[in-house]
């Protein structure tokens, strides 16, 4: 069973960002099913987490509902991340969520990036904002993202239609997830302890073998 996490940064209800997220999620699962892999997905809507995300930035810890979202991401094999385009970038809430997400949560995680916007003029937000951020977080970003302008929701099903673009992105992403295989989850807590053990043991051995030179 492949676990997908879907992060939707839409602010309104109903939200076209969520609509896009659901369509991509459905397409990815259909694609995985076609290749014989069953998949489940958990959707994380950021709007209800608005205050917990801000509080976490101010206090340094997450309340249980935000912690639950972190766990869904931690346990996922792939992430579909969708944000509205604001001021030539992702929304502040979307960025803030990834700012408070525990370190290394996305390390080695296949990610499909997607965004919505008022017009198609903002489509490079995928390449200029989302892709660098997820690369920085050590995610494996799928080469094909999906950008949907408002008009896309009313356009036909032609070659360059939204449905077709979603399908192409879903095929690439499903391949990426399958070829990446099971993800090794990193536990920073344990890594930090192990590093300290290594340093302490090395220091002790130095003192024992060479007490004069330390």
């Amino acid at each position: 069973m492949t676990a997908l996490a879907v992060v939707s940064g839409g602010l309104r209800e109903p939200s076209s960002t969520r609509l896009l997220a659901d369509r991509i999620d459905g397409a990815v699962r259909a694609e995985l099913t076609r290749s014989g892999v069953s998949a489940s997905s958990s959707v994380i809507e950021l709007r209800p987490l608005g205050r917990p995300i801000t509080d976490a930035m101010l206090t340094g810890f997450a309340v249980p509902e935000l912690e639950g979202a972190f766990h869904a991401l931690r346990d996922a094999d792939g992430l579909i991340a969708v944000t509205p385009a604001f001021n030539a970038s992702f929304s502040g809430l979307f960025k803030s969520f990834f700012d408070v997400l525990p370190e290394e949560t996305l390390s080695g995680m296949p990610v499909l990036i997607a965004a919505t916007g008022g017009t198609e003029r903002h489509s490079l937000v995928l390449e200029h904002a989302l892709r660098p951020m997820f690369s920085y977080l050590h995610a494996i970003v799928s080469p094909t993202g999906v950008y949907a302008a408002t008009d896309d929701f009313g356009s036909g099903a032609g070659e360059s239609g939204l449905g077709q673009r979603i399908k192409i992105a879903a095929v690439d992403f499903a391949r990426l997830i399958s070829s990446c295989g099971p993800r090794k989850r990193r536990d920073v807590f344990d890594e930090e302890v192990n590093e300290m053990t290594r340093l302490l043991t090395a220091a002790q051995n130095r003192d024992r073998t060479n007490p004069v030179d330390g």
């Binding site: 101010l58 206090t59 590093e195 300290m196 053990t197 302490l200």
Partner: protein, 375 residues
């Protein structure tokens, strides 16, 4: 003194009182800190600990100077730190400062080491924050040797080498101050404390109890792993944060403006949310007693409880009243209640007397006399 030690720890912040708009001067804050420490002894508390900061709006940049002044005016109080920066202070100077303080105070001193989390302090003192962990290991390794070995030859990465260096004065009775390692977040510090068999102090006040539980469990398990005793014999200290009035609604109403504007958590979660999520307790003395006794459920039987009571612009008069309630009504009950069901093999909080006795016993079992026992 009982099996557990109770006291207060201060950040030493100069903060505007949000209810009056008045900001104390640095001089007022320093003298208020001394007054608070002296009153801690007057109301029967065991420990006063100060933070160390090197930037405004904080005043305690030279903790041992402050602590010596306090020790000179007290008889029983243990003076300590929360924390002493093991990364950016020269370990030789730490050894010297605390050695002199030990002699001045008649041994009423211990130390809590920490890494420090104010970025610029590292470059100000010629260090690199990215090396904070190896720096901690190396500096503490040297500090231990300075306190234990007569003549030290040493070479490391972060400090100039030493050849034939002898710490003067030698630790009082040949027994160095007890060392706590303080941590807000990092498990590395729990591992460091466990490795050396030192005390582990979980700051506890900024994070949910589940986090403290994980750190303390790690420390206890590793303490046993390194052969210092069973897990429940490890030496644990916890922070806490309280504001009390006899009527709990009065406590909430009086403390709210200080909470809402506090530098650390102000303008974020509500007072109600933060008290539910963290160990902060605002209410009646009985509520503080009940909450504090509950710490044992996830930290086990522990040795030291320090409360933060003098921050966020609270006026001196209010802080002294908090001490009256703490010493008069809360701590006597906590001493008694914490004793209930505490197994005999769980050690009491370390004191100079217990450390000297342990050193003598160890020396006798090794078949020789304790060196430097006579003053």
């Amino acid at each position: 003194m009982s099996a557990m030690q109770f006291g207060i720890f201060t950040v030493g912040d100069v903060t505007t009182d949000p209810t009056t708009g008045r900001t104390p001067t640095e001089a007022e804050r320093v003298s208020a800190t001394v007054r608070i420490a002296l009153h801690a002894e007057e109301v029967g508390l065991d420990v006063f600990a100060t933070g160390e900061h090197h930037n405004p709006p904080f005043v305690p940049s030279s903790p041992t100077t402050l602590l010596a002044f306090i020790a000179a005016q007290t008889q029983r109080l243990i003076v300590s730190t929360s924390t002493t920066l093991i990364t950016t202070n020269d370990p030789v100077k730490i050894a010297e400062d605390f050695s002199v303080l030990q002699h001045l105070s008649g041994g009423r001193v211990d130390v809590m080491l920490g890494r420090g989390n104010t970025g610029p302090v590292y470059p100000w003192f010629g260090q690199d924050i990215r090396a904070a962990v190896p720096l901690t290991v190396e500096h503490y390794g040297l500090l231990r040797r300075l306190w234990r070995e007569e003549s030290v030859d040493w070479q490391g990465k972060f400090r100039t080498p030493l050849q034939g260096f002898t710490l003067a004065p030698r630790p009082l009775d040949g027994v160095p101050p007890f060392v706590w390692h303080g941590s807000i977040r990092t498990p590395e510090i729990a591992e460091l404390a466990a490795f050396h068999g030192d005390g582990f102090f979980a700051n506890h006040i900024f994070w949910p109890p589940a986090h403290t539980k994980r750190l303390v469990e790690l420390y206890r398990a590793r303490f046993e792993h390194y052969g210092h005793g069973s897990a429940d014999q490890a030496i644990v200290g916890l922070g806490g944060q309280v504001f009390m009035r006899h009527n709990s609604q009065d406590a909430v109403a009086e403390f709210r403006p200080y909470f809402d504007n506090a530098p650390v958590y102000g303008h974020g979660p509500s007072l109600e949310e933060f008290t539910a999520q963290t160990p902060l307790t605002v209410g009646s003395p009985q509520q503080v007693i009940d909450r504090t006794l509950g710490f044992r459920e996830y930290a086990g039987d522990y040795q030291r409880q320090l409360f933060l009571i003098d921050h966020a612009g609270l006026p001196l008069k209010t802080v002294l009243e908090q001490l009256d309630i703490l010493g008069g009504e809360v701590v006597p009950v906590l001493r008694k209640e914490f004793q209930e069901g505490r197994p005999d093999h769980v050690p009491d909080a370390p004191t100079r007397e217990s450390l000297v006795a342990a050193a003598r016993a160890a020396a006798e079992s090794a078949g020789r006399n304790v060196e430097g026992q006579q003053p």
